[in-house]
């Protein structure tokens, strides 16, 4: 083994050698810096994307756990209900406000598959009866009501109130488009071309039922197809929703008879998941009871939100409580995101492996360049190494010296790279970043605005891979140096 004090000397020689060939050292540092920044940032981006999908699925849509009857799992039948009181009595045991109890909140749902119909459109949807105050505790949907479209169950209407998604509003033709004095001013304020704005004046106060009708009219007035920023602005600001639109729902009740329920839209929400927005409608549970034939105690589903202390977004951490609840309710089925949101779950699973693959490829490509550079830098000094061997430096010591050079350079580059990328990540994790240009991921059910994040595991992977690059890129130069015969290395010019 190399002696300790020798290590000090060898390391200091390595450090001095690095300063010698500034350009090569700079290239290596730059390469690893770029690689680390790229790798770290992309990983954080991907992690943020996946995390968001999981987060939205849980905190807006499905919650951590759900309880359904065994028959409901297979047939979603209106009569596959269970006793709300029974579930409540079990769940309350795990709930202790103020303390670290596993269950933070739970809510009950009555679910009917039904057709929603308006004068101009229809769609198959899931009508879910809730108790709004309870539901607010397990889902943040109430925060996603589009301003100006109403509220989350605080409107006053004679008919039962429902809350629907933006996409459903579009399908049912409740979402319309109209250019007004007010929103035209807003568009101009946000950069709309003055010429176009002037031409739009003639379209003021005309209601367009669909986006396409609006765009057709715009084309007719401006004489061209308006694109890019202008059309996005127009699309965004000319939206308005029919106030308190009426929807009629049709479904079969518990007795198998076709029933109807007319409601008014009290509020319209928009999540990052278009599929959710187009198929979920919420109504007060009590408003459903008469038409469906259900009683207040018979529910289809209980949603459970777990305490953040458990770190419940990670499936592993919630297995114990899941099993406890399941064993206390043997006749019912307790589900987690594997069933309730398999796509979010698969994202969670894919997250680490896919970022690893990207990192691997990036680092692989960098390694070639760095190994090349290191080897050249070392070969330049081949005679020195020959001299060192002749004065008695062992192979181990020479190996160490070269490895130390490589690792020092890479450590410097990596540290700078990580520092820069952490700053970028911190900034973008607050502002969000959209790398998809003007396109959007919403039709895939995801938000295009991504908030990058780094997990400790990711960080460790990056550090380890950087270290491996350092070691691997030193191998080639070391082999070259040690293979050379001593006599070749020390030969003078004349001999």
């Amino acid at each position: 083994m190399i002696k300790m004090k020798n290590i000090k000397v060898l390391t200091s020689i390595a450090a001095k050698n690095i300063q010698r060939n500034k350009s090569k050292s700079r290239i290596i540092i730059l390469s690893i810096m770029i690689g680390t920044i790229a790798g770290t940032f992309i990983s954080a981006l991907m992690t943020g994307m996946y995390n968001q999908k999981v987060h939205d699925s849980i905190y807006t849509e499905c919650a951590h756990l759900q309880i359904v009857s065994k028959s409901y799992l297979s047939d979603e039948d209106i009569n596959s209900t269970f006793s709300a009181q029974k579930a409540e009595s079990v769940l309350k045991k795990y709930q202790n406000p103020g303390k670290n109890a596993p269950i933070q909140a739970f809510s009950e749902q009555t679910i009917i598959l039904s057709m929603a119909q308006t004068a101009r459109g229809n769609a198959g949807i899931k009508l879910t009866g809730i108790i709004p105050e309870e539901e607010k505790k397990v889902s943040d949907l109430y925060t996603k009501i589009i301003p100006g479209t109403g509220s989350y169950f605080s409107s006053k209407t004679s008919l039962p109130e429902v809350v629907i998604g933006d996409k459903l509003a579009e399908i049912l033709r409740i979402k319309n488009y109209r250019i007004t004095e007010k929103n035209l001013a807003e568009m101009l304020h946000n950069g709309l071309d003055k010429d176009i704005a002037a031409k739009l004046n003639s379209l003021k106060n005309i209601r367009y039922i669909t986006k396409k009708k609006l765009e057709k009219a715009i084309k007719a007035v401006t004489g061209q197809k308006v694109q890019g920023k202008a059309i996005s602005l127009i699309r965004k600001y000319s939206i308005y929703y029919g106030h308190m639109a009426k929807i009629t729902f049709s479904f079969t009740n518990t007795a198998g008879e076709l029933s109807f329920l007319s409601c008014r839209v009290g509020g319209i929400f928009k999540t990052s998941n278009t599929f959710f927005d187009q198929s979920e409608v919420f109504i007060r549970q009590q408003d459903l009871l008469k038409e469906t034939g259900l009683t207040a105690n018979k529910i289809h589903k209980t949603k459970i939100l777990l305490n953040k202390n458990l770190k419940p977004d990670n499936l592993k951490n919630i297995q114990p409580i899941e099993q406890e609840i399941q064993s206390s309710l043997p006749k019912l089925k307790v589900l987690d995101i594997r069933n309730t949101s398999p796509d979010a779950y698969s994202f969670q699973l894919m997250s680490l492996p896919s970022t690893f693959i990207i990192l691997f490829i990036i680092y692989l490509v960098i390694s070639f360049g760095i190994a090349n550079t290191m080897t050249m830098a070392v070969m330049e000094r081949i005679k020195e190494f020959g001299m060192l061997r002749s004065i008695g430096m062992s192979k181990k010591e020479i190996r160490y010296m070269i490895m130390a050079e490589s690792l020092i350079l890479i450590a410097i580059g990596a540290l700078i790279g990580i520092f820069i990328s952490v700053i970028i990540i911190i900034i973008t994790s607050h502002t969000g970043i959209n790398i998809f240009g003007s396109s959007s991921l919403e039709s895939f059910g995801m938000n295009s605005l991504i908030y990058p994040s780094i997990t400790p595991e990711l960080f460790i992977i990056i550090v380890i891979m950087t270290g491996i690059v350092g070691i691997v890129t030193a191998i080639s130069p070391i082999n070259k140096v040690l293979k050379i015969k001593l006599t070749n290395a020390t030969k003078g010019v004349l001999s």
Partner: protein, 407 residues
């Protein structure tokens, strides 16, 4: 001619450098081509299943239907028109299409469903049926019965011979309601509608919805989906005098295209980043090569070689190395892509569920040998050339006297 000889011999001189440069290009390109091919192949498959085979790559609609998918904007059902469209170059099949949302009820269950018209094989339309029969028999031309998708039949507990009730919104506000015998079960290639699909004959739907010889639109399937714009133009010519219009799926469903573009851009960004890394690698390597061979170049200049010739030699060397990497990448990628085009990657378990929830079958095929292979190759060549030429500035700075000083 001589320059090439010198250049090629120089490549074998420093094998290690040549190999590592080749490898870095090889890896970047192989990854880039593979990912792009996988992306495009998957998109094509997604579109084919969810749209092409069920709703048509192109649709001939009434003018107003495009803006408002109301059943009131239906068009005339004309077998002559169908024949005329079918003879257009590139058209694989032409199908009259009626669709409506409805509530289906069996004994004690109900569910919102989508009802789609199903035309049997017919000489007139040469309709190719993308539906897969599971049990029972396919509907006949003017059949009065319905077919259910497998999952739906299971949910409603319905079998061959049972009856179902369908209620929906018909033509001009007509309350559509009817009893229908179940003739069998089938599945479509659009996974998302397979849990709520009901098929009826064209006549059956017209009766149920009170449509007097009308249909929603004509769905057109293509022989080669890549020719969509071309076929669309041809059809436009043929129907220019009628009140009908033809639209492609992107115009009908822009959201999906946006989603695909987003995903595509994401993949491209990562690839461009990789290219930037390779660029730096090549740039650095070339600079160092020049440094290392400073003396050699200066000796050459001293005996009369011009700087341009030295640059040419170096350029040929680097480009040859680059091409080696490119060829290696193509040699491996092309068979891989061809194989995966025919035998796509199939997902199971949770990943599969994610696909299905979005409405797509859980497979990822490659996109065959499409142009982007050459685009990527082109980018790489361009990038290497630029990297090498940047480093030529150093050759310009070489001074003979400096390097020949014996140190």
């Amino acid at each position: 001619m001589k320059l090439y000889k010198i250049a090629f011999r120089n490549i074998t001189r420093n094998k290690r450098r040549t190999i590592s440069t080749t490898l870095s290009i090889f890896i970047a390109l192989i990854f880039a081509i593979f990912i792009r091919s996988l992306q495009e192949g998957t998109y094509d498959a997604m579109i084919a299943q969810s749209i092409g085979e069920t709703f048509g790559y192109l649709q001939i609609q009434g003018k107003d239907y495009f803006d408002d998918h109301s059943i009131d904007n239906a068009i005339n059902f004309s077998p002559d028109l169908l024949k005329k469209i079918h003879t257009t170059e590139g058209v694989k099949s032409v199908t009259p299409h009626i669709e409506a949302g409805a509530l289906v009820s069996s004994e004690n269950k109900s569910k919102p469903v989508m009802v789609i018209s199903l035309s049997p094989d017919s000489v007139d339309t040469n309709f190719i049926n993308h539906m897969k029969l599971i049990s029972g028999k396919m509907l006949s031309k003017d059949d009065n019965g319905v077919m259910l998708s497998g999952q739906l039949a299971k949910y409603l507990n319905i079998n061959y011979g049972d009856t179902i009730v369908l209620t929906g919104q018909g033509y001009h506000g007509y309350s559509a309601a009817g009893l229908f015998p179940v003739k069998g079960t089938l599945n479509s290639s659009n996974v998302q509608i397979n849990n709520k699909l009901i098929c009826m004959s064209v006549k059956g739907m017209q009766q149920w919805l009170n449509l007097p010889n009308l249909i929603n639109y004509i769905a057109i399937d293509l022989i080669n989906p890549k020719n969509i714009k071309f076929v669309q133009k041809n059809i436009e010519k043929k129907i220019s005098e009628s009140p009908l219009i033809v639209k492609n799926w992107k115009e009908i469903n822009p959201d999906i295209e946006r989603g695909i573009n987003a995903d595509r851009n994401g993949g491209k960004s990562i690839i461009y980043l990789l290219y930037i890394i390779v660029f730096f690698g090549i740039f650095g390597t070339t600079l160092m090569t020049i440094n290392e061979r400073k003396k050699e170049f200066c000796v050459n200049m001293a005996i009369g070689m011009k700087k341009n010739q030295i640059k040419k030699i170096l350029f040929i060397e680097m480009m040859a190395t680059c091409f080696l990497g490119i060829i290696l990448a193509l040699v491996i990628d092309i068979p891989l892509i061809l194989y995966l085009t025919i035998h796509p990657i199939i997902f199971t378990g949770n990943a599969a569920a994610a696909f299905i929830k979005l409405g797509y079958a859980p497979i990822m095929p490659c996109g065959g040998l499409t142009p982007f292979i050459w685009y990527q190759t082109g980018y790489v060549i361009l990038m290497v050339s630029i990297a090498v030429m940047f480093s030529f500035r150093k050759i310009n700075k070489l001074k003979i006297s400096e390097s020949l000083h014996i140190s």
